[in-house]
């Protein structure tokens, strides 16, 4: 039941399509049959919108661009080149896919409202271009003699069959995306793009794939629209209403659910059509008012849309997850093997510099990390520690210097590439994917290493066990406390099996006992041979953990060496406690 609702397979989708066709079969009224056909068109558009905007969180006002290209591809090919829609339709889909890529590539640099508004401009530009080209109202010529060849059926029912098939394929694609690495990656980048990129998700590539799939589905909807109505006008194809209607059915039915857009279309399209047919004749604008009121009421009483409400009602009583009472971290220092520090240099940083405006955040920093060691980077607040990590993993591009890892220079590489090479990191302020389960959070981190989905889940479970969170699999990350979040983030990066682990103030904001738990986990990892670089600004906890310190102050290396040397270094003490304290201490 739950699976059919969340990620339906072929059987569940087929059953719904057959029921839909069965209802359509008994209807003689051509007008009502037309409504059924319209439902499939707008369900497809809703699915298309949802696959991109619902799953990635990038709101698009421009799906009319893909829809319109589908419409015009079919119509123009039939009109000018006598090409049958059987061929025109796939080409319409192709047009949608290509348009998706062309629009996505430059536009993904934008975020939030900027992205939404840029998307608004594409279909409107196309609208005027097609008007200018003189395609005000091209029609598909009638072909009475070979109607099958040109999809001009005597019986509307065949049209409905095609619509239902196309709709089912769209839903199936959406369902496959939802259940797979594709969907989880999109969901991760929607909830925290930086974190997704940081744990090795190629966010740009996934977004591009999403908009191409989405463009293709919208192109199919457009192509089908052309076959049904036989005519294209710039306004019906590229107008605001096409974009808006796709968005409305998806949001009304339920964003980022597989069935949502279909439910939305099945509810809203007949409702508005029936009103238009009855009262609409006497009073202009009834349909618009009804649609408006319907969606406003829906938003006030069920903000997530209709389908999630239905789902909740159907599954009431099940699906409850209780949070375990505490973390089951492996014992701290007990059965530890001594660390083996090799002579191989894993990471060699030389002359690394970065300034923001006039501020030199990191200036001429050099150090090495050896195989198997735990290196602590310490320094007071504002010393440039986190900037340093951002430079290492590619969030920020260095002004000068090299970061050599193996035989590669990491400077200028995209964060997901750096992660794929084996440099994993956590964040100073925890960056979970809050509306995903703990297991799914960690699986996202495993994708970078495992190309097989089952192997990724296996790696994620192992990683959770290594930090003692195995009992938390199904808990939503949004409900975790700070300790649990920290551990989950470590598990997420461990799932990618990094050669080098960068931990950014993992102890920040934790209480005394919690610090011990995390320290235990980290030192255990170290004893298993994991190379670790850890940032902290408090020294006490670190002295017990690290093999070597690098002390940063004002963006430069102040000192480096073994803990006992560094803590006695007068420069370090001064940076931490101030000159005054130094002077007093000498007396």
């Amino acid at each position: 039941m739950k699976k059919h609702l969340d990620t339906p397979g072929i059987k569940a989708i087929g059953a719904v399509a057959l029921a839909f066709l069965f209802a359509g079969f008994w209807i003689d009224d051509p007008y009502i049959k037309q409504i059924f056909i319209n439902v499939t068109i707008w369900a497809m558009m809703g699915v298309a919108w949802n696959v991109f905007s619902g799953y990635t969180g990038l709101v698009s006002f421009g799906h009319a661009a893909f829809f319109g290209l589908g419409v015009y591809t079919v119509v123009i090919l039939a009109l000018e080149y006598d090409v049958t829609p059987w061929i025109g339709m796939p080409l319409g889909i192709l047009a949608g896919v290509i348009a998706g890529a062309l629009i996505g590539l430059p536009t993904f640099r934008l975020r939030g409202v900027y992205f939404a508004l840029a998307m608004l401009a594409y279909p409107l530009t196309l609208l005027y271009i097609f008007e200018w080209l003189g395609y005000q109202e091209p029609t598909i010529p009638m072909k009475r003699e070979d109607s099958w060849m040109f999809m001009q059926f005597e019986n509307d029912f065949f049209m409905l069959v095609i619509g239902a098939v196309l709709m089912s394929v769209a839903v199936w694609i959406s369902s496959r995306i939802h259940a797979s690495r594709f969907g989880l990656s999109l969901s991760a980048l929607k909830q925290n793009e930086l974190a997704a990129e940081g744990v090795g998700i190629d966010t740009k590539a996934w977004k591009l794939r999403a908009i191409m799939v989405s463009g293709g589905i919208a192109g199919a909807a457009g192509g089908f629209y052309a076959i049904v109505f036989l005519v294209a006008t710039p306004n019906s194809a590229f107008g605001m209403l096409s974009s808006a209607q796709a968005m409305i059915v998806a949001l009304f039915g339920g964003v980022s659910t597989v069935w949502g857009p279909v439910v939305g279309s099945m509810m809203l399209i007949p409702l508005s059509e029936l009103f238009e047919a009855t009262i609409g004749h006497y009073l202009l604008g009834t349909r618009g008012i009804l649609l408006g009121v319907a969606i406003v009421v829906m938003m006030l009483y069920a903000q997530d849309g209709l389908f999630p409400k239905l789902r909740e009602w159907l599954l009431r009583g099940r699906d409850e997850v209780t949070k375990p009472s505490s973390v089951d971290a492996p014992p701290a220092m007990a059965d530890q093997a001594p660390r083996v520090i090799g002579s191989d240099v894993v990471l060699k940083v030389s002359g690394l510099s970065k300034s923001f405006g006039g501020l030199k955040a990191v200036s001429d920093v050099s150090f090495e990390v050896r195989q198997g060691e735990v290196l602590g980077i310490i320094g007071p607040n504002g010393a440039g520690k986190t900037t340093m990590f951002n430079l290492l993993n590619g969030f920020i591009r260095a002004d000068a210097g090299r970061v050599e890892y193996g035989n590669q220079n990491l400077v200028g590489m995209a964060p997901n590439r750096v992660c794929a090479l084996g440099v994993g990191r956590t964040f100073q302020v925890v960056r979970p994917f809050p509306r995903m389960s703990v297991l799914h959070n960690v699986v996202v981190g495993a994708y970078v290493r495992e190309s097989d989905d089952n192997a990724a889940f296996e790696a994620a479970r192992q990683a959770l066990a290594r930090v003692g969170m195995q009992a938390y699999e199904d808990v939503l990350a949004g409900g975790l406390n700070s300790l649990e979040l920290r551990l989950m983030e470590i598990a997420r990066v461990l799932a990618g099996q990094p050669k080098l682990l960068l931990l950014d103030e993992t102890l920040a904001g934790l209480g005394g006992e919690e610090v011990e738990v995390v320290l235990g986990v980290i030192s255990r990892l170290a004893s298993e041979g994991q190379t670790i670089v850890i940032i902290e600004h408090t020294m006490q906890a670190m002295v017990r953990l690290v093999d070597r310190f690098v002390v940063l102050d004002h963006g430069t290396v102040l000192a480096s060496g073994k803990p006992e040397e560094v803590t006695k270094n007068p420069l370090v003490v001064e940076a931490y406690l101030g000159k005054k304290w130094m002077e007093n201490a000498q007396h």
């Binding site: 508004l117 530009t125 903000q303």
Partner: protein, 298 residues
Amino acid sequence: MIGAIYGLMCVGLAMIFGLMRVINFAQGEFFMLGMYGTFYLVTWLGIGGLLGPAVAAVIASVAVYALGALIHRGLLSKATGIAVAGTEGDGHYPQLILTLGVSLVVANGALMIFGNMPTVIKSEFSSSAWTLGPYGGDDGMMLFINEARGAAVMMSVLVTLAVYYFISRTTLGKTLRAAADNPEAATYMGIDVQRSHRISFAVGAAITAVAGGLVATYYPFQPYVGLEFVVIMYAGVVLGGLGSIMGAFWGGLIIGVVQQMSTLVLPMQLQNGMIFVLFLAVILFRPQGLFGKNVERA
């Protein structure tokens, strides 16, 4: 010339979209209501004279102010500001849907009440012009300025300056900005955020309505006219830089000028397309706008 009125229209949206970051689809409908309000005031009450439509537009905007406040109180306040801070997409989805719903209801309601016949406000000044010049001798350049438009432009500049003064100098204006910028922090400072948002929203709606009334003096309109202008408004606000009131004015001005200029070199159909191309160019290469100061970082 149209530029200045576009500028005013964008200032209205800047109050809502620029300051509050609420994507308001219904803005075009406020614009349309301003047009009809002005139309009925001018024809029924017979407010005449050169400044008649301009005065009527301001009066009409008061009604739109009330409507805006009502819409915010009844609907939008449930999906903006504090109510949604930190939820999925910071409440963008419900906002989109709500304002889209309001826009549909208002536009179609207007269709029911006003009918779908295109209307225009006629006054004796619509067809007369001030003549400037001739410059450079007797057969030099002459400049004709349509009097109705001239009055509309002056009114636009006046209202924009008033808004600018209100937002940047008065205590209430500062309160509004604070509430829009960071609702949570503003609450801790003892600001009634809901009330502030309501005022911002209503003022934004009213300003756009004034612009609508002014445009109505030379542009034929019907209930769906809002859709034609709403995109131009967003283009202007983004062009000027989000969050900047004066920026929005200049953004609208530039769009008006570009639209006029493009008639000289481009075929009619591509004229409006030109606006979007310009808009895309700005948003892709300079998303902080021409006058905006800060960009949102990742």
